[in-house]
Symmetry: C2
Subunit: 146 residues, 2 copies
C-alpha cells in the first residue's frame, strides 16, 4: 500500500517527486513521511515554509486516500478545502512529518457517510517533529467523494 | 527590485525554481506571481494544493521582503509563523497569485516597530484568482527581524 501511494504521488503530482517526498511508514497510529532538507531549504538554511506546508497537506491527503482504500473505495476525488499551519520552531534537518490516523470510530463515520451520501469530510492533523519537538502543527479539512 | 527578488528566490529557495514560480508584476496595490499548471498539477488535472499553498506563502513572504527593502533594510530574517488557506474552487489553468500590499499606514507602523524594537509582525493576504473568481484565499502572519 505504501509503494502504491508513493508511486501514485510521484507519478500524478510532480511537485512531490521534485521535493523528494517519501513515504516512510504507515502503522495503526500514524503515517510518517519525509523529505530532505537540501532541496527544501530556504534563505536561512532551514526548511522552507512552502515545503513544510506542502508535506503536511499531502501527508494528510494521503491519510484520507489510505482510509478510502482500506474501505474498499478507489476514490479519485479527495480534496483539501481548508488548512491551517502554525510554525513553532525552524526545521534544521531532513523533514519528518507525522500524520495522525483517525480513530476507528471516526473511520466508521466516514464509511457510513460514503455509503449513504457518496461523500464525507474528514479533519486530519499532521505534525513536523524534530528531536522530539513539534516544529509545525497542521490541521486540514478534506472531502472524499466517490 | 522584481529581478532581485526573483533571483533571490530561485537561488536561495530551490523549490521556487522547481515549481517555476515567477514574479510577474509589483505595483502600488499588489504583487502578482505565477506558476505553470503543468509542473504544479495534481491527480485530478487541477493545481496541487501544496503548490497553491506554497505560492501564497512565498508571495506573502515576498511582500514582507519588498516592504523591508523599501524601508532601507536588508532583512535576512523574515519568517512565516502562521497561515490559513481556504480552497474555494479548483484552479484549472496556470496559477496567478495576487498579494495585497499593506496600506501606507500599516507600513509606517512596521517602520516604527523595526526602528524601536528591531522586529515587526505583519499580516498579509494573498488570493489565487482565475477568470475573475477567487479560487484560494490565504492569510499569513510574518515576522521581520533586523
Amino acid at each position: 500500500m505504501i509503494k502504491k501511494l508513493q508511486d501514485k504521488l510521484h507519478l500524478e503530482i510532480p511537485l512531490t517527486k521534485l521535493m523528494q517526498l517519501n513515504i516512510k511508514e504507515y502503522n495503526e497510529h500514524e503515517l510518517i513521511t519525509t523529505a530532505p532538507l537540501s532541496i527544501n531549504i530556504n534563505d536561512k538554511g532551514t526548511a522552507f515554509g512552502g515545503s513544510l506546508s506542502t508535506i503536511t497537506i499531502i501527508s494528510s491527503w494521503s491519510m484520507c486516500w489510505l482510509i478510502s482504500e482500506s474501505l474498499g473505495y478507489d476514490s479519485k476525488n479527495i480534496v483539501v478545502i481548508k488548512n491551517t499551519n502554525n510554525y513553532l520552531k525552524p526545521v534544521t534537518k531532513d523533514i519528518f512529518c507525522h500524520t495522525i490516523k483517525p480513530t476507528q470510530k471516526e473511520i466508521q463515520i466516514v464509511k457510513e457517510k460514503l455509503e449513504k451520501k457518496g461523500s464525507a469530510s474528514l479533519t486530519i492533523q499532521s505534525k513536523i517533529i524534530e528531536d522530539d519537538q513539534v516544529c509545525v502543527e497542521f490541521e486540514g479539512v478534506y472531502v472524499i467523494k466517490l
